[in-house]
Symmetry: C2
Subunit: 375 residues, 2 copies
C-alpha cells in the first residue's frame, strides 16, 4: 500500500517521503512466492513517477525498528502527518512457524513504538495514521461499532475501546498496536487515526493505470495474497477456488482506490490532539462463498470454468457467524465508494489473463495450518 499511497498523495498536491526496508519482498523471496508481476525498486519507481507527474518523492531505505535510522529520517523529513504501514502484513505468514511469528511480533511492535517515540520527539503535533484491521474485532455476536463501545453494566456506564479478539498473530499484533497508541494518546497527547481496514482487492489506481511498473504487488499465494486476488488468479490458472471450510466467513472489503482515498481523507482531516479516532475502513461485506460465486460467474464469461473447492479450513475461525460492522465515519468525511461490480472483477481477470504465463501453480496453495507442528 505504501507506494500507491505515496503517488496518490503527491497527485493531490501533498509533499511525501517514503520509508521502506523491503520486508515484504524479502519474506516473499524467503518463502519462494512472488507477485504476479514483478515491480521495480522504490528508487526506480520514483524516477518513473517523477517523469510522469513532476513530483519528486524522497526514498529512505532502512529498518524502522532501528532508532538511529528513524531518528535520521525524521530529522531530514519532519512530517505533518504520517501513515504507518511498516508492519509484517500477512496473517498466514505470522502463523507459519516460530521464527516467522517472532519476526512479526518484534517488527510490528517495535516499528509502532519507534514511530510513537519519533513523533513525540520531532513532531508532536503530527498525526499518526495507523493501518489497523477489521480482523482485530474478530466475529463477535454483537454489532461491531466504529472503534468504541458504550457498555452499560449494573446501572453504570463506561465507554471502552471495542473489545478485540483476533484470529491470528498478525491480527493480534494490530490489537497490541492499538493498545500502544491508545496509551500514548492519553499520556502524551498525541493525535492518532486508526483505520480498521478490511481486505483490499484490485490493482488499478488513478495514478498507476497503464504503467505496470507502478502497480502494487499482486500476490496470489496463500501466504501474502488476499482472498479475492487469489480467486482471480486461481480462476485464470485453472486451479479450483480454495474456499476454506463452509465459506460463510464474512468480512468487509474495499477497492484499492477507496483505501487511498480513506488514507488521504484521514490525513487531510486530522484527529484532534489527545484523541484516538477510529474508522472502520471497508465499503461492502461478502462471505467467502459470495466472492467465489462472483468470480466463478464473471470467469465463465471469459470461457474460464472455475471450479469451487471447499477444503478443510487450515485456520481456526467461525465459518458461519453474525457480522454487522458499522462504517459511517469515512463516508461522513467524503469517501465515495467504488463497489465490487462485475466490471471490476472482469478487469482483474483480464489483467491475470495477460500475465497467465507468469503464474506458478505450485505457490497457490501449500496448506499452512494455524496449529501445525512447525509452529
Amino acid at each position: 500500500m505504501g507506494w500507491p499511497t505515496a503517488m496518490h498523495l503527491t497527485a493531490k498536491g501533498h509533499s511525501v517521503a517514503v520509508v521502506d526496508n523491503y520486508l515484504r519482498r524479502s519474506l516473499c523471496r524467503q518463502e519462494n512466492v512472488e507477485p504476479l508481476v514483478d515491480v521495480p525498486n522504490l528508487h526506480q519507481r520514483t524516477v518513473i513517477w517523477e517523469s510522469l507527474s513532476g513530483s519528486h518523492i524522497p526514498v529512505f531505505i532502512g529498518d524502522l525498528t532501528d532508532w538511529s535510522f528513524i531518528e535520521d529520517v525524521f530529522r531530514r523529513f519532519t512530517p505533518d502527518g504520517l501513515v504507518h504501514y511498516a508492519e509484517q502484513p500477512a496473517a498466514p505468514y505470522s502463523m507459519l512457524n516460530r521464527t516467522a511469528s517472532m519476526l512479526t511480533l518484534r517488527n510490528n511492535l517495535e516499528t509502532t513504538a519507534n514511530v510513537i517515540f519519533a513523533v513525540k520527539q520531532f513532531c508532536p503535533d503530527a498525526q499518526i495514521v495507523k493501518l489497523g484491521t477489521m480482523g482485530e474485532y474478530g466475529t463477535p455476536n454483537i454489532d461491531i461499532e466504529e472503534g468504541w463501545l458504550d457498555v452499560d453494566h449494573k446501572g453504570r456506564r463506561q465507554t471502552f475501546l471495542f473489545p478485540r479478539q483476533a484470529g491470528s498473530l498478525y491480527h493480534t499484533t494490530k490489537i497490541m498496536d492499538t493498545d500502544l497508541l491508545w496509551l500514548y494518546v492519553r499520556m502524551w497527547n498525541l493525535r492518532v487515526t486508526d483505520l480498521m481496514q478490511g481486505p483490499v482487492y484490485g490493482i488499478f489506481t488513478d495514478e498507476n493505470r497503464d504503467h505496470e511498473n507502478l502497480y502494487s504487488f499482486l500476490n496470489y499465494d496463500e501466504l501474502f495474497g488476499t482472498v479475492l486476488n487469489r480467486f482471480i488468479v486461481q480462476a485464470v490458472a485453472g486451479h479450483p477456488l480454495t474456499v476454506y471450510g463452509k465459506g460463510g466467513q464474512t468480512r468487509g472489503y474495499l477497492n484499492i482506490v477507496d483505501t487511498l482515498n480513506c488514507v488521504r481523507l484521514a490525513l487531510e482531516n486530522p484527529a484532534q490532539k489527545g484523541k484516538l479516532r477510529i474508522f472502520n475502513q471497508f465499503t461492502e461485506t461478502f462471505s467467502v462463498n459470495q466472492l467465489a460465486d462472483r468470480v466463478q460467474k464473471v470467469a465463465s464469461s471469459f470461457g474460464l470454468k472455475a471450479e469451487i473447492a471447499r477444503i478443510e479450513n487450515p485456520r481456526k475461525e467461525s465459518e458461519d457467524h453474525y457480522y454487522n460492522p458499522e462504517h459511517t465515519g469515512l463516508l461522513e468525511l467524503g469517501l465515495e465508494p467504488h463497489y465490487l461490480t462485475d466490471e471490476v472483477i472482469a478487469e482483474m481477470i483480464e489483467f491475470a489473463l495477460k500475465h497467465k504465463d507468469k503464474i506458478r501453480p505450485e505457490q497457490i496453495f501449500r496448506k499452512v495450518k494455524w496449529d501445525s507442528d512447525s509452529n
Copy 2:
C-alpha cells in the same frame, strides 16, 4: 516474587526449578537504586534453602528472550506447570525514557511469546500461570468483573475479555501478554491462568522468616518500590510520605503471603485445556490516602512523626474515581486472606528501623514524570 514462590512450592512438596537473568538487579544497578537489604544470588540462596529444608532447586541463569536458552531449559526440566514472572515489573521504569520503554516492551512480549512456543513444543498439557496486573483494567466507571464481561448490545449478547485500558507502558505490556495468551489458548488449546494481581506488600513469608538471606527485594525507591513498602521506609527515614495528587487513587492490595498461596492454588487446580482462566488477585482495596494515614498512625506508636506530603502527580491517572473490582475466584479455590492489620504494618516498620542505616534518602524520590522530555 520468583524466589519466595520457589521456596513456598518446594515447602508444599512440589519439585521446582527457577530461571532468571537478574534483570531487576541489573536495572536497579543501572538506575542507582537498591533494595533495603542486599540479597545473595540464586545459586547461593538455593544452598541456604537446601540446608534448611532439604529441597534442592535447580537454577538456570539466562535470558528467556533467547530461544536457544529457553529450549535448553525446557529440555532439562520439563514442567507440568510454570509461573511466568519474567517481565520488567515496574511502571515508573517503563516510562523513564525511550531505552527503558523499548526494553520493557521487548522483554515482556518476547519472554511471553517464547514461553508459549516452549510449552507448545515441549509440554503442551502444562499450565502457564501468568502474572497479570489489576492495572490492566485501569479505573473504569463500572464494576470490574473477574477477567470477562458479558455485553448486551442492541438486543444481542457477547462475552468479551473485560476491556482493558492501562496507565503505563508496563501495564500495557501486560495487556498485550493477555492478548497473546488469549490468541494461543484458542489456536493451540493451551491451558492458561492469568492472575490479575494488585500491588504486593510485605517481606515475611513462612519460608523466609528469620533468614534475611532468603528475603525478597524490598525496594523503597520511586522506580521499583510499591507504594506501601515506600511509605514504610519513608516514615522510618523521616521523609514525607509521597502522596501523588489528591491521593484518591484506589487499588486492590495483597500480602506477599497471599500471593504465594494464590500462585500455588492456581498451579494445584489447573485451568482446563483451551481455557484462559482469569482471577483478580487482591484481598482489600485502599486509596493512597488511606495507606498514608495507616502508616502515619502506626509509625507514631514508634515515636516516628510521618508527615504526609501531597505532591504534584508525576503520573497521568484519575485521582478520584469509582473502583469496585470483583475477587471471588481465588477465595473459592481456598485462599485464606492475610489482611493489612496494624500488626503487619508495625512488623514492616520494625524491619525498616532495624536497617535504617542502609536507607539512602536520595533514591526515595526523583520525580520520574510520565510525560517528561527524556521519553
